[in-house]
Symmetry: C2
Subunit: 349 residues, 2 copies
């Protein structure tokens, strides 16, 4: 018969092992400042195991130790990009003995609440923040509070706590691909203004377009959603002058959802993909392969971003310092059916 639902306490383990609470606590936490005979150590571990002992996190936190829990604040649960990052974070956290909690931060509305609930009420040891924005209410609270934290994906200039990917490189990769196919007029659908990776991606796009000597490289902003991508695409494809032709032959988007929305908009305009307009998306998630046509994407190391962020946060919690971190894995082009040579071969005048 399994033990009832009565909590197994430290003192129970102590009793079973024939030692005191203090000894059990120190042994189980692997503290060096105590000398114990190997045999005692073994007895303690065995007793804990046999009884299925689990320390009460509240008691632990109260006594000044840490909670072994982290929280991850992401801007939108509905965005599979962040979910992928979160999975990486979860996994690594567990490997390091931390429990990680997920909270959605609807662009600052919830952040303050979550901060109180999680940090001020002592539920977590640190924060992974993927929802940073200039003027975000959380930034203020954080700077005052000495709570360990790192910013991931959306970085905060000068914080020395940023964990990011090589976003600039993803623009270059996408643009090179389109250039090699023969495109000379390429539009970029950026994310909302003020969000770091979005700005970096855009800047890299414009710079590289310049290096390649493209004929046109217009940019339009939109949310990271299907609708955001749709309206930005319509904006970029609106014929400029009397000429009925769309001003660009290819689009490079900041998110997968934007790409889906853009593709829908392109079809609505009566244009074909990729014959009339090629599309390259960002972030390679399963759905990309099943779209019509299948979407060419730049795969970002999302999972690794999650693990790297947890590594950096745990380092901070444990007192080891880390500066800004950039995940080393490079963005990778995944070729599918949404890109092809432009219809008009000699696009350059």
């Amino acid at each position: 018969m399994p033990e009832q639902s009565v909590r197994v306490k430290l003192v129970d383990v102590a009793h079973a092992a024939g030692v005191s609470k203090a000894t059990v606590s120190k042994v189980l936490n692997g503290r060096q400042d105590l000398s114990v005979r190997p045999e005692t150590r073994r007895r303690v571990h065995e007793a804990a195991e046999a009884l299925g002992y689990r320390p009460h996190s509240g008691a632990r936190a109260l006594a000044g130790a840490n909670t072994h829990a982290l929280a991850l604040l992401i801007p939108a649960l509905a965005n599979p990009t962040y979910v992928t990052i979160a999975r990486g974070a979860y996994q690594r956290a567990r490997e390091l003995g931390y429990l990680s909690l997920l909270a959605e931060d609807f662009d600052g509305q919830e952040a303050d609440e979550s901060f109180h609930d999680l940090v001020q009420e002592g539920r977590v040891d640190g924060l992974l923040i993927a929802s940073a924005r200039p003027g975000h209410p959380l930034l203020d609270a954080l700077s005052r509070s000495a709570v360990p934290h790192v910013f991931l994906n959306r970085s905060v200039e000068g914080s020395g706590r940023n964990v990011t990917m090589d976003v600039a490189r993803s623009s270059v990769t996408a643009l090179d691909h389109l250039y090699d196919l023969g495109h000379r007029r390429v539009g970029h659908i950026a994310g909302p203004p003020g969000i770091t990776p979005s700005e970096v991606r855009k800047r890299a796009f414009l710079e590289h377009a310049d290096e390649l000597g493209l004929d046109a490289a217009p940019v339009a902003s939109g949310d990271f959603t299907e609708d955001g991508g749709g309206s930005a695409a319509r904006e970029l494809l609106r014929p400029a002058d009397g000429d009925g032709r769309p001003p660009v032959t290819a689009l490079y988007t900041s998110s997968l959802a934007q790409a889906i929305g853009a593709m829908a908009a392109i079809r609505d305009l009566g244009l074909r993909i990729p014959e009339d307009v090629s599309v390259v998306g960002n972030d390679d998630l399963p759905v990309a392969a099943h779209l019509n046509p299948p979407l060419t994407t730049v795969a970002m190391p999302l999972h690794e971003l999650g693990t790297a962020a947890v590594d950096a946060l745990v380092a901070t919690i444990e007192g080891r310092q880390t500066g800004d971190v950039v995940v080393p894995t490079e963005p990778q082009l995944v070729l599918r059916g949404s890109t092809a040579r432009p219809a008009e071969p000699g696009a350059t005048p």
Copy 2:
């Protein structure tokens, strides 16, 4: 100058209000078993407010009160259906003064760990379980542990703790639509066997197909993913005899991802949507409207499922009993371009 990062404690509030710790605790928790003058009550609230007091959740949990936190266990973060449910749950939890935590349960692997981390370590007051399956390791632990919990979406027969939607109705709605268009041979892509809503949906599909007198109503199972939908679709569309025609003119899937995978498979087979095969998906999420063609779906009340589940769980935690709950909102057909009349008008021989 804002207060430093030193924690504001109960005694600080007590001191500021000129009363004892006990009084502050009781006033802030709104306990009836204490009589206080309105004026004292006001002073306490004002002091707490002014100091920005936040009770330490660990201390609270330790002292026997509850933690005001719930955990939601979902089978796959990558599945937007569950994410939508989760958002409903989050929102309602907050309204009721609870913090809700999200944990992914990779089909039982993680459940046991999560259970220990969250429940045994005293971090939460109750569990919302969306990942139940027959033989799931969690079920055992739960039945022994007296932890308040409810099962949502995936129900557990006879538990009296199920919160579900009218899944059977969704099959009827989808089938009626296809029947009205003239389809007489309709295939169903079910979820993995053993999962309740999947079984119910399938049974309702077969029963209603029988009631309508369909010529064929084959069923194939697959994961709730794009690939699962793709292979199930190929199975259902494989010509049976020498006849080169696919055996069905329409498909009804259990998830949105399955529908996306099925659509890709249909195209790979050289068939057109909806001219050759109509497709109806389950769960209306934003991406459905932006597919090519836009997907006709049965919209399920996912958000409400989340809120209803939290209501039921909180009721359980607070000692009020609730039996099984079915969310009253009916599944709603959302008409889009993936369904049309079948090519051959007189399909019935």
